[in-house]
């Protein structure tokens, strides 16, 4: 439900508000305006409509989350399947890489990467994706280790199927349920990390609305205009909770183990 609502808000943002998210809509700025007619969630420290920025911020968060998750998924699943299927030296090497990435302090790595890469809408998902794939790799590898001993895989190998075909046709479908759950949880993680990066001033470029940045930029206004901080904070929480609930729901439906 929550996720659906967010997706609808993100998709229909232009219909839900008559303002441009970057436009300064207040004629004479005299501090942030309280919620009221015309501006249901008030205006911010530049005179922009907060509701508009939260609605468009949903687009930012969802697309950053989805892109980051997709990238993690592709890298993680590929490495997981290859590693689990071949085993031996390949497995050892790839898992060593996973361990290496895992030992690096994630936040520090994120900060360094986003400082080095030029600011753009793609930088943040790229950075999150490049750091977040290890969980996928590990889980998928575990799954594949057990799948590859199954009779149908052994049979395929006996019939002379190529490695690629076995991995693509026989192993990949087997790991999908687990991956779907992880993807939902990864999405919530990515939204959270995006908010964190934006909070640290390293998120998407201005003036693209971002929930994390809203919390960060407006925190000093908490006593004066609490809605500026509370509303994006609520949005972040809902996004993270929503995808977590989806993940757990899927776990129950697909009957996969919770990791």
């Amino acid at each position: 439900m929550l996720v659906l609502a967010l997706v609808v808000i993100a998709a229909a943002a232009p219909l839900l508000t008559s303002y441009d998210p970057a436009a300064i809509v207040v004629q004479h700025y005299a501090g942030p305006q309280a919620p009221g007619p015309g501006h249901p969630l008030g205006t911010d420290t530049l005179g922009r409509d907060v509701w508009t920025r939260i609605a468009y911020g949903a687009r930012t968060s969802l697309s950053v989350g989805a892109l980051a998750m997709a990238l993690s998924l592709v890298i993680g699943v590929t490495i997981g399947v290859v590693s689990g299927y071949f085993g031996g030296l390949v497995d050892a090497t790839l898992m060593w890489v996973v361990d290496l990435v895992l030992t690096m302090p994630t936040l520090l790595l994120l900060i360094v990467l986003s400082a080095v890469l030029p600011p753009s809408l793609l930088t943040v998902p790229l950075v999150i994706g490049l750091v977040g794939w290890t969980t996928f790799a590990r889980t998928v590898r575990g799954e594949v280790l057990s799948l590859r001993e199954r009779d149908y895989v052994v049979a395929a190998r006996a019939l002379g199927a190529s490695h690629a075909r076995i991995m693509w046709r026989h192993l990949l479908p087997g790991v999908i349920p687990g991956v779907v759950v992880l993807a939902a949880l990864g999405m919530s993680g990515a939204i959270g990390i995006d908010a964190g990066l934006s909070y640290l001033g390293l998120g998407v470029p201005h003036p693209t609305p971002s929930w994390g940045r809203m919390v960060s930029e407006f925190q000093t206004y908490f006593a004066v205009a609490p809605w500026l901080v509370v509303m994006p904070g609520v949005a972040i929480s809902l996004g993270v909770i929503g995808f977590n609930l989806v993940g757990y729901g899927l776990t129950d439906i697909l009957g996969t183990r919770r990791s």
Binding site: L2, H28, T45, P205, P207, P226, V230, L238
Partner: protein, 533 residues
């Protein structure tokens, strides 16, 4: 789900109501009473001063501390007029090539030793010592013999003469209308040679000894800094305060809370609270304001296309809504039309700037032959107000067909970036005058010879250079100011800058604090400040 809905309603309700503004701390009634000695004045700073060695500090906080401990030959009064401090008077000879000072004979260091002209000579020669790498040395290379001294060819600077213990004379290689102003800078603070030689140059920054109103008390790095009244101070009865105590690690926001609790005596007002504070009559008596010699500007790199064309730069000038920027600065500023700020000699209130006129801006771009949209990058300091101002301009420029990518960077990176050729197309910076003379803006920031240092727009106009060169060596004030004005008018027309605002400094004081004034040019002095009870 019901729980979530309940939480949402609760948050919505909570977020509707702002926390009411606390009153200023309680204290004695305003007005009346004669100055009273004693007490401890308390402040909170985010960081330690960079240094307290007068030869090394070149930032507001360091200068604030150095002014406590050191004195200079001459100084400014409450405004920008030069008055004697360690000197009793001065005389220009040789048409201005020689400046002769007579010194007070009652000046002692806080250690008790009497100060003489030899100490003045020692302090200036120390400043010029290459090993010290003083950022202030460049101001004094016009003294005769300074170059030989710097090159190690002479043991002393021949142009600093000390004919008697109470006389110092400077011989200059050329007429320098700014020489007296340069001597007001804390760089020339007279240091105690005995202490420097005992602790060494390095340690002197932490154990400074001078002739100023206060002496170093205790400095626990990163925690607190205490100044004690200098009992040997040459002005009888001053300073009035016994101690000045600075707590380090206090952000602007924290200092504000501590002020409201009555734990610090002076604080800035956070942007978030500013509008409410100004509107609140309870705060009216404790607000301290001062216009400053500062201009904040949007710099356009005259070497980078399309800003190498005057029409494009003029279009940017026409596009920017400066009134909104003043609003964003909570009204703590006035609109800037020219380069020179209001308290600067030569400031022309009637100077024609560019109005906010997006249609005219588009016409200018068309005139320049620009048909498509312009795509460019704008470097801005990663702080609340600069980022808001930049986003406001981003919208203004978008409206006339200029798409601006903002690049938020830390201040050192910004300064580093703008000094290099071809890196930063647009940037926002402020400049605060070192001394109240137009050259400190026009020559330092816009003469072609300043490219690579402070002329970060790489603006170059030979006609302007010629005007500035002539003005810089003249002693006759009216002619100088006329030449500077001509140069300023031409610069505004050439539009390497969009002059944005002249900021105003605003602070609040505890009601017990008396005679606390902000200075247009220098950090606040606490010499005459006193505490009522």
């Amino acid at each position: 789900m019901r729980g979530v809905a309940g939480l949402l309603v609760a948050l919505a309700l909570a977020s509707g109501c702002a926390v009411p503004l606390d009153p200023p701390p309680e204290g004695p009634a305003e007005g009346g009473g004669s100055p009273r000695a004693g007490g401890t004045f308390r402040l909170g700073f985010p960081e330690d001063p960079h240094t307290l060695d007068p030869a090394l500090g070149y930032d507001t906080v360091s200068w604030w501390g150095e002014q406590m401990i050191f004195s200079t030959l001459v100084d400014y009064d409450d405004g920008t007029t030069i008055v004697p401090q360690l000197a009793t008077g001065w005389e220009l000879r040789d048409g201005g090539r020689r400046v002769a000072f007579t010194l007070r004979t009652d000046v002692r260091f806080s250690t008790g030793r009497a100060m003489t002209s030899a100490d003045v000579q020692y302090s200036l020669e120390r400043l010029l010592k290459p090993a010290l790498h003083s950022p202030g040395a460049e101001f004094f290379t016009g003294i005769v013999g300074a170059e030989d001294y710097v090159a190690g060819k002479a043991p002393h600077v021949s142009g600093i003469e000390v004919p008697a213990p109470d006389r110092v004379e400077f011989a200059l290689t050329a007429i320098d209308p700014l020489f007296l102003h340069k001597l007001t800078m804390p760089f020339t603070g007279v240091v105690d040679r005995e202490t420097v030689e005992r602790v060494g140059d390095q340690e002197f920054a932490r154990h400074p000894v001078g002739t100023g109103p206060f002496a170093m008390g205790d400095w626990t790095f990163g925690q607190r800094l205490r100044f004690d009244r200098n009992p040997n101070y040459f002005r009888p009865g001053l300073p009035l305060l016994d101690h000045v105590e600075v707590t380090i690690g206090v952000s602007e926001q924290t200092a504000w809370f501590q002020y409201q609790r009555g734990d610090v005596d002076v604080a800035g007002i956070p942007s978030a609270e500013f509008a409410r504070v100004i509107a609140d009559p309870r705060y009216a008596p404790v607000i301290v304001r001062q216009t400053t010699l500062r201009t904040t500007y949007l710099g356009l790199n005259c070497e980078m296309a399309p800003f190498d064309r005057r029409e494009v730069r003029q279009a940017v000038n026409l596009a920017v809504d400066k009134a909104r920027i003043v609003d964003l600065a909570d009204g703590r500023a006035t609109i800037a039309n020219g380069i020179l700020p209001p308290d600067m000699p030569g400031f022309d209130p009637a100077l024609q700037g560019f109005p906010h006129d997006p249609a005219a801006a588009r016409a200018k771009l068309a005139e320049a032959g620009i048909t498509g949209r312009i795509d460019t990058t704008f470097w801005v300091q990663r702080d609340d107000l600069p980022l808001r101002m930049a986003q406001s301009m981003q919208q203004d420029l978008r409206a006339v067909g200029i798409d601006v990518r903002l690049k938020p960077v830390d201040f050192p990176a910004l300064i580093e970036g703008v000094r290099r050729h071809g890196i930063v197309p647009l940037f926002m910076l402020g400049w605060e005058a070192d001394f109240p003379d137009p050259s400190n803006f026009l020559t330092v920031l816009l003469h072609s010879k300043s490219r690579g240092t402070n002329n970060n727009t790489f603006y170059s106009n030979p006609a302007v250079d010629a005007l500035l060169d002539r003005a810089d060596t003249l002693l006759d004030p009216p002619t100088r100011l006329r030449l500077f004005h001509e140069a300023e008018v031409q610069i505004v027309r050439d539009a390497p800058w969009v002059p944005l605002i002249y900021p105003t400094a605003v602070s609040v004081r505890h009601p017990r604090v008396r005679d606390y004034r902000l200075h247009p040019l220098r950090p606040t002095r606490l010499e005459r400040v006193w505490l009522d009870s």
